[in-house]
Symmetry: C2
Subunit: 245 residues, 2 copies
Amino acid sequence: MQIMDQFGAAPGAESVRMPDGTERTLAAEHAAAILVNEQPAFRVVCTPELLPQLALGRLLTEGWITSADEVERVAVCAQGLKISVQLRHPLAAAEQAGQEVPSCCTDNLTLASPVQLPPLAPVPQREIPAAWVDALADAMGQGLPLYRATHAVHSCLLLRAGKILYRCEDLGRHNALDKAVGCALTEGVPLAECVLFTSGRVPVDMVRKAIRAGVPALVSKSMPTVQSLELAEEYGLKLFIRQKK
Amino acid sequence: MQIMDQFGAAPGAESVRMPDGTERTLAAEHAAAILVNEQPAFRVVCTPELLPQLALGRLLTEGWITSADEVERVAVCAQGLKISVQLRHPLAAAEQAGQEVPSCCTDNLTLASPVQLPPLAPVPQREIPAAWVDALADAMGQGLPLYRATHAVHSCLLLRAGKILYRCEDLGRHNALDKAVGCALTEGVPLAECVLFTSGRVPVDMVRKAIRAGVPALVSKSMPTVQSLELAEEYGLKLFIRQKK
């Protein structure tokens, strides 16, 4: 996989004057289009870093690809407005482009996917030592500069063999998770050996993303819903709820 | 406006056994399609109450309608899976159905609106007494049964003339706000005299919703982004950040 990133990154936060006259550091929103084989696929609004990783992670967690091997090239334009992903194969068009597909509470403007998405598959089973879960919970608040500066972003940590490999931050919990997954994809880290930690809520949308990512476990500060608990059990994804200490 | 609701509501939370054997109360996710003039418009995943209000609020805050007067009928089917909104006028089709429109970090699968959305308009200006903002912040944690039971949902309060009229809860901050706005629409409460409180983050998507709702002020526990602060200033929306006491 080739990554041609002409944009790189821009600061995720800026210092601004608030209406009450105080100076505050606020998170910055950046909008970009993800194209797959030249076809518009997703619109993302995110903090302006790790754009290739965000695109790769998004494609995996939404079912457009099942491994990084399917990707020939990721190209980000100089302004960071277009992230073009070229696959090694054509996209399989959905049989009914107008059909309604299940969505999630926060992606709820979507009515259909233009591509044929494969069914969810069970995640690999792996013993998760309690120390790994503790390590993730303990790591909250450390090494998360955007949260420390703004107190208004989500984070996602990716842990392998007890060690935290990536700490990604973004405006939304979906983007943060996709960035962490995308980091693993670009560096060839086997997701089947990883655990994800999300700072956000865990409704069905987040459980589905973790299942698509193929990780054995998802740790969160927040409670799941009835349906996300059921979905996790159905596909063997271990859910851990652990508050920050 | 006629509301024909054959569904009503279902419990927003259920008691379930967790993987560790404990009994917990978790929020319930419910999926429904919102149709406008028979055309699929939105897919929502939400807690299963206030569905007509959610649909009405969503249409207003996304720019599909500008007042409840445009709505002839809202019909919810017996299973709560379809919310059909019949307008008094045909929908104006977007000039370029394939065009990309700005989206938000959490609605980021959307590529285009099938209808022509009017531009944002400035919100009405109104003096907001500090006591109103305090009342909203103080009300957090009171009268929010779903949050108290699950600790995993968002809320939105609507205040008029210093008095809290609606307390809406949902899985997502967008839905909670749309339900509160929809409550005002169904009961003829003038939104120009109201203040909204959201328990969630306030990126551009939430500021845009408040501007479309036509409220003079939005109160939040959380910081805005650089861009949402700018958008609020451009359209005269007052933003207040007030932590729960």
